[in-house]
Every structure is written in C-alpha cells, then in structure tokens.
Symmetry: C2
Subunit: 589 residues, 2 copies
C-alpha cells in the first residue's frame, strides 16, 4: 500500500475541514476514539531507557509505521563501538507491512539508524520536514553502496494516510529548526508522539511551537501521549533560545582578541545567533569542522540561516585579519578527539594556533560522561593562554527540551488519557511521570514503559503487557553492523584492563614433548623490557607444564592449552594481581 | 636530623609566646620575611593540574618536607590502572634530606601514596592529626611486607621544628574531621598550605575553622599561600555541613519503607548526621561496605562519632525488623561496580533486596567522569521500584571546599604576598586566581603553577622558574607500581578499541616456505563464528605473503613479520574500517 499525501489547502487545516476531508479516505477511521475489539501495538524499540536510539513502532493489523531511527552513543564499557542503532529483529518477516518511517527532526539520535535500517525494511518511504530530509540525504553520502532513500517531504499543515493510520502533524520547538510532532489516528484511538521538544515564545530561526494546533489536537481527543522527558527532572520553564543570546552577545562584544565558539554542529539556532553577534561587531566568521560546514551549507541553501554573504571567510583569509575581526565557530565542544577545538588545543590544527588574548566559549551543555574530557580540553586551552567561558560559568546554554512547567502545559493542551514519557533515561521518564501525577494523572494513567515492551491500545485504553520484543544492542563498529557481539566486547574489556599474554610452544606431534623454548609475547600487560624476571619465570612454568610426565597430558593438545591458560593465568595473578587474557598457541610439529 | 616536637603549653599559643619560644630553636629563623640570598624551592608534584595526586615539596638547602601524598583516579584512557601516585624521581639521592611527610587530612587523594613512597624515602616521620594517622595506619594493613610507618601525632596547638623549617598549624573545616593547614616558616619567608578546606560556622563533628588563628598567621606575615581551589569556580559561600541536614532529615523522616543512604565512606560528617536522623525516628542503622565500616569503627574508637550503641545492627538483624525501622548506610553512590549500592541494584547483595517503597538517597556529589555510571545505577534502582533522591533534586550534598566568597575571606585573613592556588584542575586554579585578582592581587602576585614547576622563594619574593622536575604518571596496577608504561597503555587502548588478531604460521627454516595452513586467532575484533569469510580471506592473504617468490623475502623472518603486520592490517582496515593489533607469530621448523 502506498502512502497518500493529502492535497494542500492553505496554511492550516481547521478541524472541521480536516474531519470532512478525512472521510474521503476509505481506510480512514470514522471514530478516532472508537473501538473494534482489535488492538494497536505500540513498541518503543529505543529511547525509553536512554537518551538516544530513539525508535517507536506503531502496528495495527498489517500496517506498521516507525517513528524515528536514531543512534545511541556507546557507554564506557563498549570500547571501539562507533554507535548503537535500534534493533529491528521484531520486524523480520513484517517488512512488507512497513508503511513509512516518520522522522521528527534532523538530530543524529533520531536519524542515524536510517541508512542501516531502511535497506533491511525494503526501503520504505521516509517522511520528514524539508530540513530534516536534507540532513538525512546529506548523511546518506557516506553510504554509497546502498540504494537511494525514498524521501518524502512533509508539509506540517497537511495530513497523510499510511495504511489504516491517518497521520497529522504539529510544529514544536527544539534547538534545530523544522521539528514536528506526530498525531497518529488509529481505529482504536489517537496516539501523539512529540519528538524532542520545548515551547519557545522567541525561538531564533523557526516560528514558535503551534500552541493552537496542539490544543486542537487535544480537543479532538488523545488516547496516548508519548512525550519527551529529557529535561523532566528540571523545575521551571526551559529558557528560550533567544534568551541565551544576551550572555553570548556580551562575551562576543567584549572580547578583545579572536573569539572561538565551540558548539554542536547541529545546534543551528546557536550558530545563527553567533553569526548575528559577529556581524554586529564587525567580525568575520570561519565555520570550521566538516559536519558544521555541511549543516550550515544545507541550512543556507534552504533558507534557514540568514548570513551576510561577506561574513563567512576561509581560515586562510581569517589569518590575514587582525584578531579582533575574527570569530571561529567550530565543533569539538564535547572534547572529541579529532574535532577542531581539540586540534587547536593540542596545536595540531592546520591553520589556527591559540594566542594569548583569544576567547574560547563552550556553547553547549556537556553530554553526560564527557565531563572529564571537556574539563581536560578546557584546561589545555587555559594553559595555552585563552580566556575560557563554559556553560557552568554563564548561562550560554539553553536546553532543547521541556522542563517541568513546559510538560505541564503540554499535558494540559493535549489532555491525553494516558501519558507515557519516552526519550529519556529512566530517571527522566520517571520524573515526567511525577510531573503528570502532580497535575491529575494517576498510577493507572501515567505509565512507565521500557524498551521493547509491548503496549496495547484498544478502544481508547492503553495496557502495558508483559510481552517484550528484542532490543539487544546492535553495535556499529567501522563497516560492521552487528558483528561485534557481547563476547567480542568482553574480550576487549579484559584486554583493556589487564592486557594479553600469548604463549607459543612447539611440541612433538608424536610424543607431545616440548621442542625448543616456549615464546612469551605480552601486549598491554607489563612492559616486557622491565619485566624480564617475570617473563623468565613464566617461561619456566610453561616448560614445567609441557614436560609433565603423565601420559594423558602429553596426548591431549586441548588439555594442554587449557592447563596453560589456567595455570599461567593463576601464576600471573599471584605475582601481579592482574588477570591478562592468556592465549596459548601450541604447534604440533 | 630528627624533628622536634615543641612542648605543650595550653590549648593555643598566643603570638607573643610563640615568637618567644621560637627563638629558643637555634635553627629557627630570626626574621620570617628576611633574606639570606638563598632560595627555598617549592615544587607541587601533583595537584596543580588535577583533583588528586596531591603532593608538594618544600626544600631549603639540605632540608625537605613533603606535604600530602595522595592518589589520583585514572582517566578513561588508562584502562586497568588502579590509581596514580606522585612521582618522586626528584627525590632520588635526596632521601636523607626528607625531614618529614606532613598530611593535611585523611582523604585518599592526600594519603594513598604513603605506603608506596615512605619506604623509598627511608621511612621518614609522618605527621598528622589523630584521625588522619588512624586512617593511614589502618590502610597500611594492606601492605604487610613494608616496614611499619613512623607515625607522629600532631597537636595543632603546638609547633615543631623540621630542619630549618618551623612548622605551625591551623584547623580548617572540610567534610572529614581533624583537617589542618600548615604554616611553614622558612628563612626566606612563610609559606601556608591550606589543605582541602572550607569555613563552616556549624560543622557537624569538629569545631569551626580557627578564624582567629588564621588571622594571626596572616598578621605575622605570609609570603606564599598555596590554597585549595577545587570549588573556586562556584560563586558564593559553601554550605555548612549542617545546612544539608534539613533536606536529608526531611527525606529520612518522611520515608515510609526502608531508607538506603549511599555516600563516600570517608564523609564522616554525613554519616554522623544520618545516624542522628535515624535515631530521631527510631530507625536502626546498618553500616554496609568494608571501607565505611572501617572508618566508622576508627572514628567511634577515637570519639569522633556519637552513636547510641544500640543503633548499629547487622544486616541479619535488619532483615528481621519492619522496613520503617531500618536505615542502611552504604558505599557505592558513585556507581562503583562492586560496592554495596550496585550489588543491591543488581540483586547480587547477600542480604538486601530492594522492595517497592524503599527510599534510596545518593548523598554525595558525582565525581566528574562518573555521571553516566551514576545515572545507570539510579535507573536500575528506579526500575526495581525504589524512590530515588539524588543531589540534583535536592540539596543533599554540600561540598567540602571553599567557594569564591570563602576564598576571599581566606585571602583576606592571611594577606599573603603571593597566592598560588593548587588542589584543582587548571580551570579551578585559574578561577581561584580570578578571585584573588578581584580583591587586589595582580598578575604578578596571583600566579598559576603547574605540576613539577620549581617556584623559588627568596627574601619574601616568589618567582616561577622555567625549571620542571619529572611528574610523569606513576601507575599502580595490581601489585605493580610503575611497571605499566605508556607503551603498555597504548597497547591496551588499541586492543580495547579494535581488538587483536594473532597470525600463526610455520615456515621451513631453510627455504622460508610455508608449512601447512596459517592459523588466525582473533580476540575483541570480530565474532569469529560469524565472520568465517573474512577469516578465510585473511588466511589466503597470509599464504600469499608467505609464498612470495622473491628470495630476499623468504630469507628474512623479521621482514616477513613486518609485512604480515602491515599488509594484513591494511587489508582488515579496508574490509572493516577497524585497526586491530596484528601480532604475527612465525615458527621456523
């Protein structure tokens, strides 16, 4: 079944006309809150227990839609992993049912799974706003060998029919433009998915969230709200993107030397403001960092960024200007190893060296887990003589998510029967549940779900079942997707913590007797040059094992290997209190 | 030269009598700010660029004193390392000059280097207050094979002569009792070292910092202040330990089920308060976690903790009481793997299972870098049904360090000619310098030092030299101290990120021709069972290399090894975009 994009009729659809038009679709439900005895399954595949890996399925009979397909950044105990994507094992055999992937906005934790997932789902249509799709399309350049994506631009003032789902939209604010939430009208009731959102009366690029439209959706009746929860533990209202301007502007206006502003490459509202402030005080702007350059390019082309064409210059040109005429906007504010800010700090940048008098601003909040790295970067920059401002010192960061008072407004406008917060760690979804309960929802109507847990919507009622579909991590590591398993990770962790010792010995294939001296190679265990005695003793120990007299020992290579692994492991632990991975290699000659 | 402990004369020494008494010591300087043309070297070996590894040397001619000897926790890029201790390479050959190690307080970042350093320094006397030394002594139980430490209790109302240094003391507050700062009077001027400190009008266990004594020290003239800077980026005054009581007390009084409070094992003031609040509402207390039990035991014995003897019970007894009568105080609030709180969350605790209605309080700030781990622990606890309170939600944590207004008071009481903030990351020492400058110090008198940099004090003037003594990390890993080098760490990191591939081949010793099939073993690279094709191709590639026809190839084993390493490395990267460590093992048969 192909999705139907409804014809355009002006800028917004009054509820009456929308209802009328929907009747023209045969498959459209007559009664959004009505009941047929059948069930809609709602499954959050990722994002119910973490910030990232966002992916939610809605399934009714033979129709499935997927909302978002993002990455999750790896944890400390996942060395070498690039990122984690949603597990779609549940969709195996159901690929033909997928009517579309709906994307709320263009951030990586909502889109990066697409190139990996779409080909496996038969390349379904992907729906998003103009900017969102442009970012998805650009990223697809890294995946030359996959078929082109089937991208369909959404006009948020319209609606569309996907199988038995009628999907409508509402604009929200975040810190990238063109964010939308989805209203999915099913035969069993209406489901709303907000995407990442906040309300912003004075956003920087896009218009404010569509309060009236959201209220209208609520008025029509919502059974289930899947809401943002990332900042639900924070009291009060989220700051407006524009409010942070005051501080940033102040820093940029007062700075005497060069200004270097580090932020996320996708934080377009921040980038826009910094460009404006630079222009105000006659500074030229260098955009540095591949992803930031790409995003600025896309946004300019689509008209999302207002930049005087003479403002942007190359690093080369910048170095010919006096420092007070230059502002460098770059990536790496999270302390990423190879990003611009780190290369400047370590004097490895091709064009820029820090100079005394430079001002460096970290204009992004620190992603949890990066605190130490960011602190080290900050310290390197101070050491190099820069004036450093970071978000703890001034309010140069506004979050993109609803705080507690914003959630209260959201819940009150939509008045859903059930609230299920997603897009957050459990501490965050739990906080959002408390917010809902503080204004009238109950233990029965404000519910916590977990990744993979099947929720059923039937006749307007939501039930959390005990059924769980697979949500094990799918690791992306280099070109491999899913080929790094828990076993591999466990090995990596052991080698990282304790190193590895390879023991190589030749034995006579007939007698099992040791030939020559065993070889000991260690990596990441001890520095061999300084540990000659330990190595010699280990070698002697191996010889003992291999010259053991009992006949069954000499006969059995795998027995010998195990014995070496166990005995040498124990021996090394006694001597060092470390447990390196011991890898015996026995040659039968 | 043996240190001299001055005779006791009452509780505090008025300045006049102290001055008089000091004249009786021949080696005591006549004029603390005077000049002899000679120089005092002050070298911060650790703690000038990090929180931890605190260690400062003061050297004048043949006399050296060491202040603090602490650990630093390893960074992310130091897998497997237990901790880092100060590098005392500078003291090689000068061991006999060390007159003593002076310890400000009993926290691990100030004492853990002692068992490793003292034996290498000829076991010098170690000076500290009663509680500090009791903690050092207890920790020494883990080092059975080293000679007993030469511990000497300080009475903070006295002074002592160590070589040409006259050392006096002043009491400060922190979040463990019995903290002191040192006043080191040298022939070239007075140096003050604060240790970790805050001012607290209403501390929980010990008396408030000795404001009058600190002012007196200032009145007598201070050339150089080495001050705490850990919280220097925070405006305002640090909270009193007692102020946090209100929140904690509230949570404990209101809780309906069991209460579990996680905190640092050394946060004795917190432990004391929690015990009091439990007693108020008729709860018995279980102390759980080895180090916490030890600290409570030491502190009770020395009279630092007031506990009704019937309050403390065993886990066994606790499980026989109704939940509302039990409070469990435990370690693991940083998400440490094997600590109590984690074992409770993962249902691996011997005695305690979480029950719905339990309240869990994280009563300690999160050590930077642990944020994600703590969030995961919190989420596990919520998932198990607990009510979780953590420091972000309520003010249940007060820091132990001076904030900006406290530093202003400290600087104003001591009026040092020079301020050199230490005990912090560069961002923190830099913030403390800004604080000093905001109240009158200048670029010339508020100075930033770095680890190992030699500062000279001469005739009351401080100069930062360009000389740097070694401060490379000394890693403690299991039983090994210093045997893990950068090479070993680099190997660990490579294996952690990319895994390892061992390639084993036998060649004919005469002809260099391959015998049989090469063996490929991988660990932490790909899951071999699922990557048969890649392994087969790698094997074929190795065979190609080893059957190369050119004669110089067959002749040279090390050439072959390098070629396998490079070619296979490149091949695997092309195929996987990973760079595992390739370890070729060639057998000549």
């Amino acid at each position: 079944m192909q999705p139907t994009l409804a014809p355009s009729r002006g800028q917004s659809i009054p509820p009456s006309s929308r209802r009328r038009r929907s009747r023209r679709h045969r498959s459209s439900p007559k009664n959004f809150g009505g009941g047929s005895g059948k069930k809609v399954n709602i499954i959050v595949l990722g994002g119910a227990e973490e910030v990232g890996r966002n992916c939610t399925l809605i399934e009714y009979e033979d129709d499935i839609i997927i909302i978002d397909a993002g990455l999750q950044f790896p944890e400390e105990d996942m060395p070498g992993i690039d990122y984690i994507i949603p597990n779609i094992a549940y969709l195996r055999g159901k690929e033909k049912n997928v009517r579309g992937m709906l994307i709320t906005h263009g951030h990586y934790d909502h889109i990066v799974g697409i190139p990996h997932m779409a080909p496996r789902l038969g390349n379904p249509p992907i729906f998003g706003t103009k900017l969102t799709l442009a970012i998805i399309k650009k990223r697809q350049d890294d995946f030359k060998n996959t078929p082109p994506l089937n991208l369909r631009v959404i006009d948020p003032t319209k609606y569309m029919q996907l199988g038995k789902f009628r999907v409508e939209f509402f604009r929200v604010n975040h810190n990238i433009p063109d964010c939308i939430g989805f209203v999915v009208k099913t035969p069993e009731g209406t489901i709303v998915h907000t995407g990442d959102m906040k309300f912003d009366y004075t956003p920087v690029i896009d218009p404010p969230a569509d309060y009236q439209r959201i209220a209208e959706v609520g008025k029509e009746g919502v059974a289930l709200l899947l809401s943002d929860s990332t900042n639900a533990a924070n009291p009060g209202h989220q700051l407006s993107e524009r409010a942070i301007g005051a501080d940033l502007r102040d820093i940029i206006h007062k700075a005497k030397g060069r200004v270097i502003v580090g932020t996320f490459s996708s934080l377009l509202s921040r980038i826009q403001q910094v460009i404006w402030f630079a222009e105000e005080c006659g500074r030229k702007v260098v955009i540095d960092g591949f992803s930031m350059k790409t995003n600025v390019e896309i946004s300019r082309t689509l008209g999302y960024l207002t930049v005087n064409p003479r403002t942007l210059i190359s690093p080369h040109e910048a170095n010919k200007l006096p420092p007070e005429k230059v502002l460098i906007m770059c990536t790496g504010a999270q302390g990423e190893d190879r990003a611009v800010l780190m290369r400047i700090a370590t004097r490895e940048h091709r064009f820029f060296r820090l100079e005394k008098g430079d001002t460096v601003v970290f204009s992004s909040s620190v992603v949890p887990g990066n605190e130490r790295t960011v602190a080290r970067l900050r310290d390197s920059l101070i050491r190099e003589g820069a004036n450093v401002f970071h978000y703890k010192m001034m309010d140069i960061h506004a979050g993109g998510h609803s705080c507690q008072e914003d959630l209260k407004l959201l819940f009150s406008l939509l008045k859903p029967k059930y609230v299920v917060p997603i897009m957050g760690e459990i501490g965050m979804t739990n906080a959002a549940i408390s917010v809902a309960k503080s204004i009238g929802w109950t233990d029965e109507t404000a519910l916590m779900t977990f990744n993979g847990r099947v929720m059923e919507l039937s006749n307007g009622h939501v039930r959390l079942t005990q059924t769980k579909v697979p949500t094990d991590y799918v690791f992306v590591d280099g070109l491999g997707v899913g080929d790094v398993s828990d076993v591999v990770l466990r090995d990596r962790l052991q080698m990282a913590d304790e190193g590895m010792v390879v023991i190589i010995a030749s034995v006579d294939a007939q007698t099992g007797k040791l030939i020559g001296e065993p070889d000991i190679i260690s990596r990441g265990f001890v520095y061999m040059k300084n540990s000659k005695r330990l190595i010699d003793e280990t070698r002697a120990k191996v010889k003992d094992i291999l010259t053991d007299k009992s006949p069954e020992v000499s006969a059995n290579e795998s027995y010998l290997r195990n014995k070496i692994r166990d005995d040498i492991g124990q021996f090394l632990f006694t001597r060092t209190e470390r447990r390196p991975m011991v890898l015996p290699v026995i040659f039968e000659v």
